[in-house]
């Protein structure tokens, strides 16, 4: 459900579970994290992360969080999400993400690993997870770097989504395109332009940006905040209520 191939020195990573709006299964997210980590050893000059179908990514597939193993699965989801974002940031080549539809919850958090975000106008962004008793804190250290502290606060606490134009105004999206086809073409053009540049300067520049904008301990602290809730009664009750409404 994750495709990864490197063509012409551009690594293409694709979320491919369109029938479930690319909701991440535990296996799928672990695979995505491994691909992100493998970029550290890759010769690719750029990586493009994209998704099949009308949605970019609906976040975790919560059906895996039912039952007694639920909290453990949720913790694994959160740890792998954090691991994925950190690995994309640490990768020596620029990461371009193509958001051609809704990017919600964990799907929006993935953008924390992007150096360039291209989106189509129909894309939406947000963290509707506090309604499920889940904290999107894991995203915070990266989201605040792209949109600033005020909008970061609003987006993490308000479960409502924002549209692509607003996301562009805030700086979460760098390139706004009319539709999914144009977004794909734009991301491809950006990746090709990056491909043509000398690798040494880009890798040094990305490493330097990482070094002096390093969120430091806050990335681990943010993961702890999200993880700390998973065993709580509130999360259990709200998730159970969610499963009842969805699947009575």
């Amino acid at each position: 459900m994750i495709e990864c191939l490197t063509r012409d020195s551009i690594c293409e990573i694709t979320l491919n579970r369109p029938e479930k709006r690319n909701a991440l299964t535990p296996e799928m997210l672990a695979e995505l994290a491994s691909h992100a980590e493998a970029l550290a050893r890759s010769e690719a000059h750029a990586a493009v992360v994209a998704a099949e179908g009308p949605a970019f990514c609906a976040g975790f597939d919560l059906s895996y969080c039912r039952g007694p193993e639920g909290p453990r699965v949720m913790r694994a989801f959160l740890a792998d999400l954090s691991r994925t974002i950190v690995a994309f940031r640490a990768a020596p080549m620029p990461i371009v993400m193509t958001v051609q539809g809704p990017a919600l919850a964990g799907g929006c958090a993935l953008l924390g690993g992007a150096d360039v975000v291209v989106a189509s106008r129909n894309a939406t962004f947000g963290y509707p997870v506090v309604r499920l008793g889940v904290s999107p804190a894991v995203s915070a250290p990266f989201l605040r770097q792209s949109v600033g502290d005020g909008p970061c606060r609003a987006r993490l606490l308000d479960p409502g989504p924002i549209d692509a134009e607003r996301a562009h105004d805030l700086g979460l999206v760098h390139e706004l395109c009319e539709d999914a086809a144009q977004a794909e073409a734009k991301a491809d053009a950006i990746a090709r332009a990056l491909w043509a540049k000398p690798r040494g300067g880009i890798a040094a520049t990305k490493r330097w940006l990482n070094e002096f904008t390093d969120p430091g301990d806050t990335a681990a602290a943010a993961l702890d905040v999200s993880t700390s809730l998973t065993d709580g009664d509130e999360t259990r009750a709200m998730l159970e209520a969610f499963f009842q409404t969805r699947d009575p």
Binding site: G171, L194, K197, G200, G201, T205, L209
Partner: protein, 254 residues
């Protein structure tokens, strides 16, 4: 009060500091930077200056590093690029530390270190046709001295995109990204736009302006000398690589 490569004039509360090497598009050489340091030292001692306008003589604001001084085969001095970058880094700290509000009047091209110089000013003004940007990665270089300056100006997310993408943009796009704070439609109307800002600033209280600038410096870490030193070293190390030297030498040939 002039030297060859940097000029300073003070008229009441408003000082004007110009890069004055128009035949080289005000490219940053050791001599030009020495001149700027000397003029800033005069400014540090000048009482009553509330606003300092930084601009470039001729059509360009600043074309970036002087190619002749960063191609080691040309200069014959492998330590020269580090001296140049380190001098630029120290200049950015000094401009931030000045009590007067520093306004960049970006009259034309502001490229690489030149765009960094514009960004380290407290307020930057340009016109729609000016070309601004950070094409360092196109040349195999790492803009490590100016990266922290740009991050403080437009935030880490946008800075990441701009610095990793390279290239240049026009004044309007630079305004949209926040690289400049105001943009006039044409080169001809740049002075009008700049003068309006300078007039507003000069109407402020000198102590209030200085105290506010000093607070913002503290909040955003502008006076952190260690990041500037590490940036200059890193930038010089990348510049000395065979890949970068070959690209720069080819550029110089043209």
């Amino acid at each position: 009060m002039t030297t060859d490569h940097a000029t300073l004039t003070i008229d009441g509360p408003v000082a004007r500091l110009a890069l004055n090497r128009p035949e080289q598009r005000n490219a940053l050489s050791v001599e030009l930077l020495d001149g700027l340091h000397a003029r800033v030292e005069e400014l540090e001692a000048a009482p009553g200056v509330k606003v300092t306008v930084v601009t470039g003589a001729g059509r360009a604001f600043c074309a970036g590093m002087d190619l002749k001084q960063v191609v080691i085969a040309e200069s014959g001095d492998p330590e020269l690029p580090h001296r140049l970058l380190s001098s630029l880094g120290r200049l950015t700290l000094r401009l931030r530390a000045l009590p007067s509000v520093v306004v960049a009047r970006v009259n034309g091209a502001a490229i690489g270190g030149g765009c960094g110089l514009a960004c380290v000013c407290d307020i930057a003004v340009t016109h729609g046709d000016a070309k601004l940007g950070f094409p360092e990665v196109d040349l195999g270089l790492c803009p490590a001295v100016v990266a922290p300056v740009l991050v403080r100006k437009i935030g880490p997310g946008q800075a990441r995109r701009v610095l990793l993408s390279g290239g240049v943009m026009d004044g309007h796009h630079a305004h949209t990204l926040g690289i400049v704070d105001e943009v006039s439609d044409s080169r001809e109307s740049l002075d009008e736009t700049t003068d309006a800002i300078v007039g507003r600033l000069a109407a402020g209280g000198a102590d209030a302006l200085a105290a506010t600038k000093s607070l913002v410096n503290r909040l955003d870490g502008s006076l952190d000398a260690s990041v500037v030193e590490r940036g200059a070293r890193l930038s010089a190390d990348v510049l000395a690589t065979a890949e970068a030297q070959a690209i720069l030498a080819a550029r110089l040939e043209k």
